[in-house]
């Protein structure tokens, strides 16, 4: 296998991580919504924590994107 095609395959594999982060972000918002519907009065106070959890989950997906971009353009 030559390097160019190995690069493309590697970038594609790195993109799987973005999908995993999508599951994480979905879980964050899903569980927030679940508990927010149970107790709507307390939901507004937890918005900050919601976005912190969202940011933490999202960052790992962005890392995967960075890896894919590094493989594609930096090597």
């Amino acid at each position: 296998m030559d390097v160019a095609s190995a690069k493309l395959i590697g970038a594609g594999l790195a993109a799987i991580g973005v999908g995993a982060a999508a599951a994480g972000v979905g879980f964050v918002f899903g569980s927030f919504l679940q508990s927010a519907i149970r107790n709507p009065a307390a939901a507004d106070g937890q918005q900050g924590r919601l976005y912190i959890g969202f940011a933490a989950a999202e960052l790992l997906g962005l890392m995967a994107f960075v890896v894919a971009m590094l493989i594609l353009f930096a090597f």
């Binding site: 912190i52 969202f54 999202e58 960052l59």
Partner: protein
């Protein structure tokens, strides 16, 4: 890479000199990044001073500015506490700058004639320096207030002794990664969105030029995808500014209170 023409999504992030040149290691170059930073700052100035009139019955503009300040003020007060007001200037500066830079970077080509809108925050140097400022504030406040007690931040309070030894290096590592991850987040979010827009913008043109049966259909599909992604980008621009501000105030709160 498509056969009909190479898509170059990285070209939009190239920093080009407007006045002066990079020849001979010259560090004083007026680049497109500097120009758009100044434009963003000018817009923030106009926005802020348009609303800082202190009228008894506020107009719409004043309500907008006061609402924005009140929003960040609430966030700082909730996460840091009553003495959070001292840290409001930096948190608000970071928030409003990221917000305006992200939103203005999303302007399409041609709003300003012949000037490609340059997203200032799509460069890690920019957001990285902002997160370094946050980190410097955290370290400065922590050591100023608590002296060497600041290191107890890394040790969980009510844990068994074995756990303390196990967790302290992990806490230290996660503390050291913070300035990196804090700056990386807004940068990557802007970067990824613009790459996506660029790639699909090329698809629209390439599908039209392919002269095949499904070309127009694919082109229209890609066009609607661009509209959708642009709306997501507006949301992401605001969310990233908000996340940067709330994480900044959270980190400062940890330095102020130590847990």
């Amino acid at each position: 890479m498509a056969a009909t023409g190479k898509i170059d999504p990285m070209h939009q992030f190239v920093i080009e000199p407007i006045a002066g040149s990079f020849q001979g290691g010259n560090p004083f170059v007026f680049t497109n990044s500097a120009l758009w930073t100044l434009i963003v700052l000018a817009t923030i100035w106009l926005f802020m001073f348009g609303g800082m009139k202190r009228e008894l019955i506020p107009g719409r503009w004043q309500v907008a500015v006061e609402g924005l300040i009140g929003f960040v003020d609430d966030m700082v007060n909730v996460s840091i506490g009553p003495d959070g007001k001292r840290y409001l200037p930096w948190v608000f500066t970071a928030f409003i700058f990221l917000l305006f830079a992200n939103l203005m970077g999303n302007m399409p080509f041609g709003v300003v004639a012949a000037a490609h809108p340059f997203t200032v925050t799509s460069q890690f140097t920019f957001t990285g320096v902002m997160s370094l400022i946050t980190f410097a504030i955290v370290l400065g406040v922590g050591f100023w207030k608590h002296g060497l007690h600041f290191f107890s931040l890394f040790v969980p309070k009510d844990a068994p002794l074995i756990f303390k030894f196990a967790i302290a290096p992990i806490e230290l590592l996660s503390f050291l990664v913070r300035p990196f991850s804090l700056g990386l987040r807004p940068f990557i979010a802007m970067f990824a969105g613009h790459v996506l827009l660029d790639v699909f913008g090329n698809f629209v043109v390439q599908a039209l030029n392919s002269h095949s049966a499904g070309g127009i259909g694919i082109s229209i599909l890609c066009f609607f995808f661009i509209v959708f992604v642009s709306m997501i980008e507006l949301l992401v621009a605001a969310i990233q500014a908000y996340v940067f501000a709330i994480l900044t105030s959270l980190y400062i709160s940890e330095a102020v209170h130590l847990h």
